[in-house]
Symmetry: C2
Subunit: 697 residues, 2 copies
């Protein structure tokens, strides 16, 4: 892409010197802008980064891992945005295998491996081998089955995935159509797909990678239906990778994102598998065809798995949103638009009020989600420890929380990534900005592992039960404890007397609690009315109340999200893990988060009668002043997420601010620029444009 | 993708018969569901479709054009979702050239040509040749310039684009850095890019297609800066397609969508162009170097162009959203999820309350935008007729309206397409659903042709001026006329006494008007306070008030959007263009639209003191009952948009409901399925998985 050579003469050069001096007046210097912006911070982003990453040594280790990845061809990101679907698929596998080999070769820890996967971020055909196939064998396989399969899995001598969803059946697992029928004579199962709609659809890695699947199929023994059970089924030959007899398997085609992953389909035509293909740690089928049901706790174990998956989704929401906010904030700090007077510097986009009022609340949301993700994983881990002692007491609470938080956190992150992208203007539409890929790969979180509406409704069920318990005078605990307090204080009014009062954490929590409690009570009333008396948790009464139920669940988890943010920051301050300036910067962000949540809930605040119109109006004033307070720390706060440039892979999100050079560098290597004339010249354009060729036609 | 052959024996087949009969109980039949759904309609979708498309003959003609396209290789859509970037670029050009040749060969009308482009929908390298290069020459070229360029343009002997935006400069056109300096001795201009940031960036078709550009550059004559002017610059050789001397040009790289278009960059190194390259219909530079300024109306003409572009964006918003809603509604009608009891049919997803309450309001929004787009184009056309008589009277009003409506309609459509996509669950993530491509190609409308915040602020300026005029006792007209009425009725209260009252159009309009008027007055107050007295329309006062200003502008155009919907339906009813059942169905949709808008504005309704919490609560009840009313007409209402399957290109949006077969058919031809073993077998997987090869390593 070098210019065609030519040598303008001295007079021509001289001619434009004066005019160019004029048009270059007030020209921006993005790198200087970035540096100047950082000098405004009131706290040390190194300190906060170390706190958020559990110590400076962890950050240091991550730098080393970035170095390691930078030197490997399979983790090079220079061409990542230019790949065809096939290249993306092959590249994703090469990266996964590269990391696997590096870990074995250098004897790296699991923690390092997780960090390498996160830094390289190249989802591919092994995701479900690692994320579902191995965990299912570990949790549902007998010791013998584990002994057989785990070495093969760990050495990548088999690659597995998890096949549950069918083309026509999602959420309703009990209604799967695929059957596994026990043949007592042969001591085998016959697995079979009876219809087009029963084709397994979506399993990651199934398309072209996996050799085996955990198949969820309805188990029949002696013509009796025992419901869905898990079976290991080989789908491809190990020597040729051709499908096994009776197996139809392939890739489902391209998606909005995540195209390195070969999500697949699978149809089985009377395929025989040995009896020990069934994972029998809990339920069993004996040789003679006797069905031994699982112990009752098995159901709880299934819930525990769901809670774990949802907890990781909550954690990822903070991860993705914080990346998007990092990119958008850094670019807004160096991008300039519109000068007050011609010849003066254009204004920094971050100084536009509507940009600040969008990006700073979004930054507070990213922090809230990051802290929520950490707490969620902590909660899961302490539950897991209790479970090992047979203690499942917190499971219902954890299930209700993780469901609603899965929905809320993915709603916030998906909308937030797109908001961040739009704040970058036209350039945010380029893949080189990093934001489209972030959005397109993230957004599936809103629909997978349970559609968000279904998730909210699970939390709503828990809320309604707690409201009913309070009404019956029973004690309620956990995250719903505030319902008991609220029931005693019906008709409580907001005490805010001026805009500044809204920055007070106690006032914020009181208002968020009042909203959540009133919506929970109201949803319970709506459900009771629809049920014609005592609330019914299914059928038309439940269905017809879902808008109110979802609204109540959302308010509950929003309150929880904010409360957790407050608690985490105050705990760190109390334990002196942060210096005073850093604590102050975080408290400002917490306060902004509370106000932003309340602004969103203004209609509810007012409808419940808790606040007046005047008080609600003060929320905007409060937000304005909080945003102005956070503004000088904008870059330091995103720097504290500590994403290496390598990880963000964003021309606009570069830490040094050299964004325009990065965009141009990225464009120059675009495959369409491989030749000057481009791929359409010969077949399409030359016959039209070349006068000689055209005249011959 | 045929299964590996094998022949299960009779006993094996027999074994699974009973179990499959069990799991197939209650199995769905999507095509029957679609047909049954259509029988529920209370009106004729054929009638409404004909009305929306200006007559049944127009629809018939469109069918013929679909037939024409179906038989051409360049308009085949079977593989559209599988293309690499390069294939998409070449394909987009082939389609455009194919349509051009067909139009010439068959002597088709411009109207047919527009329909063909819309049906084939394959944006490519000619978009800006048609949409900007030609129109700019027609509007700004002298008769001689038009005589020279237009035949070349129409015969595709040159291909042009429009180069204004620079890498580091967008909205602030006066601040462009590219210069065009007049050399009096040579009677030529020297055009030059003085910096990295002055590289032209984004012009569609510039990357690899265009031979010429309209270049916007700062004109200097005798060292005096005359601001941005338009010049025609040749950038590529017609015989070789190589860049001209001093020209660096290329593709900017892949984007979130629209990748058939080769958006490009351009840098000029002291390039000499003849004097008559400047488009001189208005401003002129004489041979001797005398600058003749344009007549004052020139500025108005520039506004008129902006209005036109924004009007087309408003029209497109209805087009895109109605496609997305068509797909989501049709799929929701045939998709089933969760049976009340095992063995019974699962419920139609459209019967879930939260799905209905999402999709039916979205459907009403699509209709509102479709009618708004039609009205907007009508308004533009009558302005254009007046302009020909030198009458620019309605321009300020039209500019204010089209700005805010551009922002509101693109906000609604972008969010709505994504909402529709998520309502399709996991399958909406597949490109075969049609929705990801719709979203990814649409969403740039929110940031191009003026960022939406900037657009709202232009409407806000108009609103504040009208509020001030009312306060000074002056009369105000047009879309802001209600401000005068509202000023007389401060403290007016909502008259709604029960949920049903909210379905009354008069009550809806009164409430939407009250909200818009109160927010306009409030924003004016905020601006006045920030200005320290009389409102200042720039600088820090304006900037610091932008959140309130945007809020007011949004409420104003939302009111206008709804009022237009009401007026269009009532006009059609009054002129007896629709039968009573169709009018009734549309009125229900209008009513739902009003309630949905008010629900969104509930916080504002309450904060202003216009409505009470109880009244606001009734909005949800009203919405619920309206949604139930619209529900039976859901399919008929989307059928009335009359998108042929060819145009939607969606497995989930097929009119016949045969969605699962369509998904599977689409997957089978995915390029990743070209071989059974896939592209990663040889390079990555075989060395791991094949025991023999592995043992050799």
């Amino acid at each position: 892409m070098l210019p065609q050579r030519h040598s303008p003469d001295a007079a021509t050069r001289e001619l434009v010197v004066g005019p160019c001096r004029v048009t270059m007046q007030g020209a921006a210097n993005p790198m200087e802008d970035a540096a100047a912006e950082r000098r405004k911070a009131t706290f040390s982003s190194d300190e906060l980064a170390a706190f958020l990453h559990d110590g400076a040594d962890k950050l240091q280790r991550r730098e080393e891992l970035v170095q390691l990845l930078s030197s490997q061809p399979w983790s090079d990101k220079t061409h990542r945005y230019f790949l065809t679907r096939e290249q993306e698929y092959v590249g994703g596998l090469q990266a996964a295998v590269g990391i696997w080999k590096t870990m074995r070769g250098q004897k790296l820890s699991i923690e390092d491996g997780i960090a390498l996967r996160s830094l390289a971020y190249f989802p591919g055909g092994l995701e479900l081998h690692i994320g579902m196939f191995i965990p299912t064998i570990l949790s549902q396989g007998t010791p013998e089955q584990q002994a057989k399969w785990m070495p093969l899995c760990n050495r990548l001598q088999v690659i597995g995935t998890y096949a549950q969803t069918e083309l026509g059946h999602g959420t309703f697992v009990r209604g799967l159509q695929t059957v596994a029928v026990y043949d007592e004579r042969a001591k085998e199962f016959v697995v079979h797909s009876p219809s087009l709609e029963s084709t397994k659809w979506w399993p990651g890695g199934l398309g072209k990678t996996a050799t085996h699947v955990v198949l969820m199929a309805r188990l029949f023994v002696k013509d009796k239906d025992y419901g869905p059970h898990a079976f290991i089924v080989q789908v491809r030959d190990l020597e040729t990778h051709q499908p096994m007899p009776g197996v139809t398997v392939g890739d489902i085609g391209p998606k909005m994102g995540f195209n390195g992953v070969d999500n697949g389909f699978l149809s089985l035509d009377h395929v025989r598998i040995p009896r020990d293909s069934m994972l029998m740690r809990y339920a069993q089928v004996t040789e003679e065809g006797q069905y031994i049901p699982p112990p009752p706790d098995n159901q709880k174990a299934a819930y525990a798995t769901m809670v774990y998956v949802r907890a990781t989704i909550v954690r990822d929401s903070g991860d993705f949103l914080s990346r998007a906010v990092t990119i958008a904030t850094r670019y807004a700090a160096v991008r300039r638009q519109t000068a007050p007077k011609l010849g003066e510097p254009e204004l920094q986009v971050l100084d536009y009020d509507n940009v600040q009022q969008t990006l700073m609340p979004l930054l507070s949301r990213a922090y809230a989600l990051v802290f929520m993700g950490r707490s969620m994983m902590d909660m899961y881990n302490s539950f897991d420890a209790a479970r090992a002692r047979g203690d499942f007491a917190v499971l219902p609470e954890l299930h209700a929380l993780s469901s609603g938080l899965k929905a809320l956190s993915t709603d916030i992150a998906a909308a937030g990534i797109e908001t961040a992208r739009r704040q970058c203007g036209g350039h945010g539409y380029m893949l080189a900005s990093g934001l489209p890929t972030l959005f397109n790969s993230y957004v599936q979180n809103c629909t997978w592992e349970g559609d968000n509406s279904v998730m909210y409704l699970q939390t709503a069920r828990y809320m309604v039960k707690n409201v009913l318990a309070v009404q019956l005078g029973r004690s309620v605990g956990g995250s719903a404890a505030y319902l008991a307090e609220a029931a005693k204080q019906t008709g409580a009014k907001c005490a805010v007397g001026r805009a500044e009062d809204w920055t007070n954490p106690a006032n914020q929590l009181a208002a968020l609690t009042a909203v959540a409690a009133s919506l929970a009570v109201q949803a319970t009333k709506v459900l009771a009315r629809a049920s014609g008396g005592q609330p019914v948790f299914e059928g038309e009464p439940w269905n017809g109340s879902s808008v109110d139920l979802i609204r109540a669940a959302r308010a509950h988890v929003a309150l929880y999200l904010h409360k957790n943010f407050v608690d985490c920051v105050e705990a760190a301050a109390g334990q002196r893990k942060l210096t005073a300036p850093t604590t102050a910067a975080l408290r400002q962000l917490v306060s902004l988060h509370g106000v932003a949540l309340l602004l969103e809930a203004a209609g509810d605040l007012l409808e419940s009668g808790y606040a007046t119109g005047r008080q609600a109006g003060w929320l905007r004033e409060a937000q304005r002043s909080l945003v102005r307070g956070v503004r000088p720390n904008a870059l330091a706060l995103v720097d504290s997420f500590a994403y290496p440039d390598y990880q963000l892979n964003s021309a606009l999100g570069r830490k040094d601010g050299n964004v325009y050079q990065a965009l141009l560098d990225s464009a120059r290597i675009s495959p369409l620029n491989a030749t000057q004339e481009g791929p359409a010249w010969k077949p399409v354009l030359e016959p039209l444009l070349n006068p000689q060729i055209r005249s011959r036609l």
